[in-house]
């Protein structure tokens, strides 16, 4: 499979000719970043430090020298004009860290529940921890681990808790930093299944990874590493063997979706 169909839906995250920098380094100096992520679409960026830098920029921790960064019609410069605006911007984006980022003094349940409690997402009629429980269940965290601290569990579970936390505020855009890292091969289809579920809910998902099979299996489009523009034909920079592996993984993921359905 060499051509991927671009998803349909409204643009949720747009980068228009962006040149800037984040605490991790400069971005788009040679070719400005230019892409739009639609709802229900998965975009993949291959790369290491640049990907993390791009994600920090999108989360509002960087500086844009040129171009526009727009989230559902809101410009980042407007959001950054005050702390409330920036907080609201960040609440609309779910961020899945690569491996760190869980609060070590809180249980897994409290870690996932913290954003919901802090931003007051619980309303009358909701049961205790309802939002967090739903997110933990979706990420496949066993119930007996909900009340243990992160140091008591393995890295794969921690990774899945990070993913669960990324959806707890029901964001329109998901940014996942290397979502397949620390995930064992047998559970990779389940991971893809989770990703497809989020996609089916209409979330725009931007993935940064170095895992070609996983990235291609999930992708609707890929950001070309040289032009910094969307492409669906990536044979010029990705070997055929990776593309074949992606097809196998995608088939396994689809089977996992059918099984869970």
């Amino acid at each position: 499979m060499t051509e991927l169909s671009t998803g349909v839906g409204k643009p949720q995250l747009e980068l228009r000719q962006v040149v800037g920098s984040s605490p991790l380094g400069p971005l788009g100096n040679v070719h400005p970043l230019d892409f739009a992520l639609l709802g229900g679409q998965v975009g993949v960026v291959f790369g290491g430090k640049e990907t993390s830098s791009l994600f920090r920029l999108i989360m509002g921790t960087g500086k844009i020298d040129q171009g526009e960064l727009v989230l559902e019609g809101t410009h980042v410069r407007d959001a950054k004009s005050n702390d409330k605006g920036l907080s609201a911007w960040r609440q609309r984006i779910g961020f899945g860290f690569r491996e760190k980022g869980l609060l070590s003094n809180l249980t897994l349940m409290d870690n996932v529940d913290l954003p919901a409690k802090y931003h007051d997402r619980y309303h009358e009629g909701m049961t205790k921890n309802e939002i967090a429980i739903s997110a933990l269940r979706q990420a496949g965290i066993p119930e007996n681990l909900w009340h243990v601290r992160p140091d008591r569990i393995n890295w794969e579970i921690r990774k899945r808790v990070l993913l669960a936390r990324s959806i707890v505020l029901d964001p329109r855009v998901l940014i996942l930093d290397d979502p397949s890292a620390l995930i064992a091969s047998p559970t990779m289809p389940a991971m893809l299944n989770w990703l497809f579920e989020q996609k089916a809910k209409g979330r725009g998902i931007l993935i940064g990874t170095n895992d070609y099979p996983f990235g291609l299996a999930a992708a609707d489009w890929v950001l070309h590493p040289e032009t910094n523009r969307i492409t669906t034909d990536y044979r010029d920079f990705i070997a055929d063997e990776w593309i074949k592996s992606a097809d196998i993984l995608r088939a396994l993921g689809v089977r996992a979706v059918r099984k869970s359905a």
Binding site: T61, L86, S87, F97, K100, G101, L103, P115, Y118, D120
Partner: protein
């Protein structure tokens, strides 16, 4: 409200319900770790200090033939000087180091970045609760220390000679001036806030690697001690300039 907004202080106050709830929860937890868990240690230190100071003072005063001044000596030494300083040292040793090491570790573990990215205000969630908690805790610790030190003082006074409790309390009460309470509160609140702020800042100054944790913790202790001593000395000087030494 408008003044707070104009000064840019709005960021430091948790206005919204969810923010307030987490702020109070974290503040109470920090007070529990800092004050409640150290009560036994404060009691032992307080009694020990009181006994030692009263014994020494009693011997000295006995040489001068003026034992009735014991209350005054205790107020001079224990209430004005020793209590805020010993409590500050205790809080630096127990909580200051813990806070600095915790901040350094959570920064290295990207927990601070995670909070920021989730739209959680680090001032409300991490910094302000610890500052408020240390201000409250140091005041409470000082009051507790003072209580036990006075008890120890009475025990110490009774080791070498008979000193009735009523006489002892009367001599202490007569030596205390209203301004003592004001300066006692000022010292504990300001020193508590400064210790918390110093330890938080030094802890968060960690750049990247875990080997820096002991370095920043060490720096937090040294700087906190220096600031605490400096503030204590300055406030004592102001007190004595304003009210004089009432011998």
């Amino acid at each position: 409200m408008a003044l707070i907004a104009r000064l840019g202080l709005a960021n430091y106050f948790p206005w919204e319900r969810g923010h307030r709830r987490e702020f109070f929860r974290n503040t109470l937890m920090q007070i529990y770790f800092t004050f409640v868990q150290s009560t036994m240690m404060i009691a032992v230190l307080g009694i020990g200090s009181g006994v030692a100071i009263a014994l020494q003072a009693n011997f000295g005063l006995a040489l001068l033939g003026n034992n009735n001044q014991l209350g005054k000596v205790l107020v001079f030494i224990v209430f004005r000087e020793v209590t805020p300083l010993v409590s500050a040292m205790l809080i630096i040793a127990r909580s200051g180091t813990a806070i600095a090491a915790e901040m350094a570790t959570i920064k290295f573990q990207q927990e601070i970045e995670a909070l920021n990215i989730m739209g959680i205000n680090v001032y409300h969630y991490i910094l302000a609760p610890r500052i408020v908690a240390l201000m409250v805790s140091l005041t409470c610790m000082s009051i507790t220390f003072l209580g036990f030190a006075l008890l120890g003082g009475w025990i110490g006074a009774n080791i070498s000679s008979y000193f009735p409790l009523s006489q002892y309390l009367t001599s202490v009460a007569q030596a205390i001036r209203p301004a003592d309470f004001l300066f006692f509160t000022l010292k504990t609140v300001i020193i508590g806030g400064v210790i918390a702020n110093t330890c938080l800042q030094r802890g968060l100054s960690l750049k990247a690697a875990p080997f820096e944790v002991p370095i920043v913790t060490n720096r937090a202790v040294v700087d906190s001690l220096t600031f605490a001593m400096g503030i204590h000395f300055t406030l004592s000087v102001i007190y004595y300039v304003l009210y004089g030494i009432d011998l």
